[in-house]
């Protein structure tokens, strides 16, 4: 029947839209991550390791505050704290600081620190040269470890941002390892 052919043609097109939109919903995830990397939408910092020489030249005379905070999902097992709360820094220059992890439990803890920056738009200007957050960490029972962080603030960051807070939330790897 002529009608049937016509209908099947329409159906095929519409089903194609459906299938396309289904996969589009999954494509939204990497798309979102790209948008976040470009705009700092959700305050997530780039996980890319920056090269040191990127920053050695222009050192701005501007000063700004950078604060370090942390959050541990289970404080009684693993304490995870910045050694210093605040630093006054100049954009363009490389600085370092240290987070201290104390395993208070009687077992080994594997986990990862997830960074977040506030205000969110500062996230893309925070460059990390070396960070414990790049990989999973293992802490032996009772162990106290100093974890170094080398970072710089891009001098392109808007001048109105005067205070940046960098937060690390430490998550145990039970959930993380399942993923990979």
């Amino acid at each position: 029947m002529k009608d049937n052919k016509l209908n099947m043609g329409t159906v095929k097109k519409l089903v194609f839209i459906c299938v396309f939109m289904f996969f589009f919903s999954f494509a939204l995830i990497p798309l979102y991550n790209i948008i976040c990397d470009v705009t700092g939408l959700n305050g997530n910092t780039s996980n890319l390791k920056e090269k040191a020489n990127t920053f050695s030249e222009v050192v701005s005379s501007e000063k700004l505050n950078i604060q370090f905070i942390s959050h541990e999902v289970n404080k009684n097992k693993l304490e995870f704290k910045p050694k210093e709360f605040e630093m006054i820094i100049s954009p363009g220059k490389v600085y370092s600081t240290v987070y201290v992890a104390t395993n208070k439990s009687k077992s080994k803890i594997i986990g990862q620190a997830i960074p977040s920056v506030s205000p969110n738009e500062a996230a893309k200007y925070l460059k990390k040269l070396e960070c414990f957050c790049f990989e999973e960490q293992t802490f032996k029972p009772g162990e106290v470890v100093e974890l170094p962080l080398y970072f710089a603030i891009d001098e392109k960051m808007p001048k109105r941002i005067k205070t940046i807070t960098l937060s690390y939330s430490f998550f145990e790897a039970i959930e993380v390892s399942k993923k990979n």
Partner: protein
């Protein structure tokens, strides 16, 4: 609705239960959808009454807070996916082939499947009420991580949503194919009744966004059971990402719930004003622009998640823009009424009620669009008042208007007019008694989705609860009236209403089993 066809059919088909299980007739399937919707309306309504009972007074009286959360979650899922969407699909099945002068839907076999998936999906959803860990209680928006704390019910919830989505996609494909391919010769697109137009656009919205919901909930499922971290910060995901996906579906979804009502009202107002619809083509364009805008406003549901300033401003402006085409519609309806010769039968009363109360919901929607003010409104009873105004005296009233409007056509009998008016006035009174005070408690600081509240909110919650029970009981009149009309009553003419225009009024009341076997002549 159902008994009618028996007397008039000319075809061979099985009788009894097999007839309904195997039917491919657009009128039978339309009736099935409408009956299903009516049953779910009372199930969802009962859940609402559980909620309103608990909120009648401060303190915990009747239910556990967890069960209360299940009630709000299930009430929303049932009312959205089980009542409003199937009711509109039912109306589409019944009316679209007739309105465009076609014999039936384009894909009758698939039509049957898409209906019968629904009872299956909802049995699955409702069965979660009896499961370990209770029914889903994380809100119908399913935000992770909370929704991932659901117990045994979780996979059932997700698969139920998949099946509902599948059913609506199949229904939408069928409707698009019908409208594009089954029109009578001479029925050009710009001659189609607005109900057909609004449904065509709605169907495209469904096809575009239901798969996105399916994708989103699939990711929830794999996050919970297969160790992915789409929305889990610990694994590099972001819980806010789910909200973006959800509302990318969710905002077009609210237009899916309202656009067909625009079509219904655009059919009823000219009929009873005895005057052609004002601005037909601008109505079509307005509908299309609302549909288009609905894709770029989703984040106004998420103003408090901490988006960058530019994002907040963009979504505020885009959202406010929707007021323009929506306003055009309201102005067009009012101008249609202007200098008409109006009578106020029940469908007209419901349609006027729709315009007034939907516009009130539109006003609160405009207020919610203003980002700084939204920080105060967000997740309060002000929002609850807003979306209930657009959905209850909005969508639900439009569905009721449509039922009163076409019931004489479907059954061949006039409904009892006085009783219909009583139903309208009681519904209108109680719906306002229920939802208007919610604006006040919301502004005064009452969050939504809480089973218990501080004392300053007590008075208005009590009023709202009384209103809810009144509204619930008033709907029994509707059921009684439908049964009475199906059984018999004053015979309806073919034209039914004095000012009626359109192909459905050229058929007999009730219409023959197959609508137009020979295409009608279009003026």
């Amino acid at each position: 609705m159902s008994t009618v066809v028996k007397d008039t059919h000319h075809d061979e088909h099985p009788s009894g239960i097999m007839r309904w299980l195997t039917t491919t007739n657009h009128k039978d399937i339309g009736s099935l959808y409408l009956w299903f919707s009516l049953i779910m309306f009372f199930i969802g309504g009962l859940m609402a009454l559980v909620i309103r009972s608990e909120l009648f007074q401060p303190g915990l009286q009747f239910v556990d807070p967890q069960f209360f959360n299940s009630m709000t979650t299930m009430h929303a899922l049932v009312m959205i996916f089980g009542v409003v969407m199937p009711a509109f699909t039912g109306l589409a099945n019944w009316m679209i082939p007739i309105m465009i002068g076609g014999p039936d839907m384009a894909l009758p076999r698939m039509n049957n499947y898409s209906f019968w998936i629904m009872p299956f999906a909802f049995s699955m959803l409702l069965s979660t009420l009896f499961m370990d860990g209770g029914a889903p209680a994380g809100g119908w928006t399913l935000y992770p991580p909370l929704s991932l704390q659901t117990g045994d019910a979780f996979p059932f919830l997700i698969f139920a949503i998949h099946f509902m989505g599948l059913s609506s996609i199949m229904g939408a494909i069928n409707i698009v194919a019908t409208i594009l391919n089954m029109r009578a010769p001479g029925m050009t697109l710009m001659k189609m009744p607005l109900f057909v137009w609004t449904w065509l656009i709605t169907a495209f919205l469904l096809i575009a966004v239901m798969p996105v919901l399916a994708g989103g909930v699939t990711m929830l499922l794999t996050d919970k059971f297969f160790g992915t971290s789409f929305f889990n910060a610990a694994g590099g995901g972001d819980p806010v990402m789910f909200q973006h996906i959800f509302w990318f579906f969710g905002h077009p979804e609210v237009y899916i719930l309202i656009l067909p009502s625009f079509g219904v009202v655009s059919a009823i107002i000219p009929t009873f004003a005895r005057k052609p619809l004002f601005g037909y083509s601008s109505m079509v364009y307005a509908t299309a622009s609302i549909a288009f805008l609905s894709f770029i406003v989703w984040a106004h549901h998420m103003f408090t998640v901490g988006m960058p300033l530019a994002g907040e401003v963009f979504f505020m402006l885009a959202t406010m823009l929707i007021a323009v085409p929506t306003g055009v519609k309201v102005f067009n309806w009012v101008t249609t009424m202007w200098r008409g010769a109006m009578t106020f039968e029940t469908p007209m009363l419901f349609a006027i009620g729709f315009i007034v109360m939907f516009t009130i919901g539109g006003f609160s929607g405009l207020m919610l669009a203003i980002t700084p003010a939204d920080f105060q409104y967000h997740d309060t009873y002000f929002v609850v008042a807003h979306f209930h105004y657009v959905l209850v005296p909005g969508s639900v009233f439009a569905i009721m208007a449509a039922v009163y409007f076409w019931l004489p056509k479907w059954t061949g009998n006039m409904y009892p007019e006085t009783l219909g008016k009583v139903h309208f006035w009681l519904s209108t009174f109680f719906v306002n008694l229920t939802f208007f005070p919610m604006h006040f408690v919301g502004l005064a600081g009452m969050p939504r989705r809480i089973p218990d509240y501080s004392l300053q909110f007590a008075d208005y919650n009590m009023i709202a609860s009384i209103g809810a029970f009144g509204f619930g009981f008033a709907q029994l009149i509707f059921v009684y009236l439908i049964f009475k009309t199906i059984r018999g009553g004053e015979k309806a003419t073919d034209e039914v209403w004095e000012g009626a225009e359109g192909l459905e009024w050229t058929l007999s009341s009730p219409p023959p089993y197959h609508s137009f076997n020979t295409p009608p002549v279009i003026k």
